[in-house]
């Protein structure tokens, strides 16, 4: 039984030697780091960044749309007021002409009678 225990213990025991890093481990890691440092970083100009374009477009829309909308509304109101003025003139002229015709008929009828 003891033999079996010893066998198990030796099998499961920590093998310090196998856990040790190879002697050139540090050198390899350093070499990799140096390689990483050497990776070329390409700096993209601002005008090629989609976010910059989106921001510029947003700012342009914000700058152009409200004044255009206000101008459109102002012109529409001016047209409507002009149309209203013309409508009043037209209805008034119609009224005047209807009254004149009525008076003329009354006059001519009186003459005939």
């Amino acid at each position: 039984m003891k033999e079996f225990d010893d066998l198990m213990r030796s099998a499961l025991s920590r093998d310090e030697e196998s856990l040790k890093p190879p002697p050139d481990f540090a050198a390899k890691v350093l070499a990799k780091t140096v390689g990483l440092r050497k990776t070329k970083v390409i700096a993209m100009p601002l005008w090629r960044k989609p976010a910059a374009w989106a921001l510029a477009a947003g700012l342009s829309i914000a700058a152009i749309v409200p004044p255009s909308a206000m101008e459109y509304q102002r012109r529409r109101e001016a047209r409507a007021l002009e149309a209203k003025r013309e409508l009043f003139i037209a209805l008034k002229l119609t009224r005047v002409k209807l009254q004149q015709t009525r008076q003329r008929i009354q006059r001519t009828t009186r003459h005939t009678l």
Binding site: A80, A90, L93, T94, R95, K97, L98, T101, I105, R107
Partner: protein, 183 residues
């Protein structure tokens, strides 16, 4: 050939329904001193209707304006007698006749002519009102198309809150004189 004529005959009333070209009346005003040209189509009338405001007068005017399809006025004033040719009104008369408008009033008193035409749709509905008023020094054409009730025509004889036209015309005259002076 017969088919072509038949198609043409069918198309003619459709072409006629396109409406009268009021530019043909511009000849009347060639020698005019003052003129009033008003052309309000359906879209412009809708636009104007939206700006009528609120109030008793506007509320009564709005249904009438909403039912109109077009308002056309041509009015010319002349300095002297005989500065327009009454025959220039004939195309409009012919159009009204062709479109089966009824001349309900015709009054002639010397050189003064008044004609009122109605396009009747039913006993209670009128499809349009046209007035031709010609005097020695003034000629006016009023053409209103749309669904008009007879009581609306009566209403037109009232004020309906419409501003004084004389003042409007005086203002227009002043504006024109001012523009001429500026030029």
């Amino acid at each position: 050939m017969k088919k072509t004529f038949a198609l043409l005959a069918l198309a003619l009333p459709l072409i006629a329904q396109e409406g009268f070209d009021f530019k043909t009346l511009d000849k009347l005003g060639a020698n005019s001193r003052n003129h009033t040209n008003i052309t309000l189509d359906g879209d412009m009338l809708k636009l104007a209707s939206g700006f009528l405001g609120s109030g008793k007068d506007s509320d009564s005017l709005k249904p009438l304006v909403d039912s109109l399809k077009g308002v056309y006025i041509r009015s010319f004033e002349f300095d002297r007698d005989g500065q327009y040719n009454e025959a220039d009104l004939d195309p409009l008369r012919a159009y009204l006749k062709q479109m089966q408008w009824n001349r309900i009033v015709e009054s002639r008193e010397g050189k003064e002519v008044s004609e009122i035409y109605l396009q009747t749709r039913s006993a209670s509905r009128v499809g349009g009102l046209a007035i031709i008023a010609a005097e020695a020094r003034e000629v006016t054409v009023v053409y209103i198309s749309g669904d008009i009730k007879p009581e609306d025509i009566q209403k037109l004889s009232g004020t309906m809150g419409i501003p004084d036209i004389r003042q409007e015309l005086l203002d227009r005259k002043k504006d024109k004189e001012k523009k001429k002076e500026d030029e």
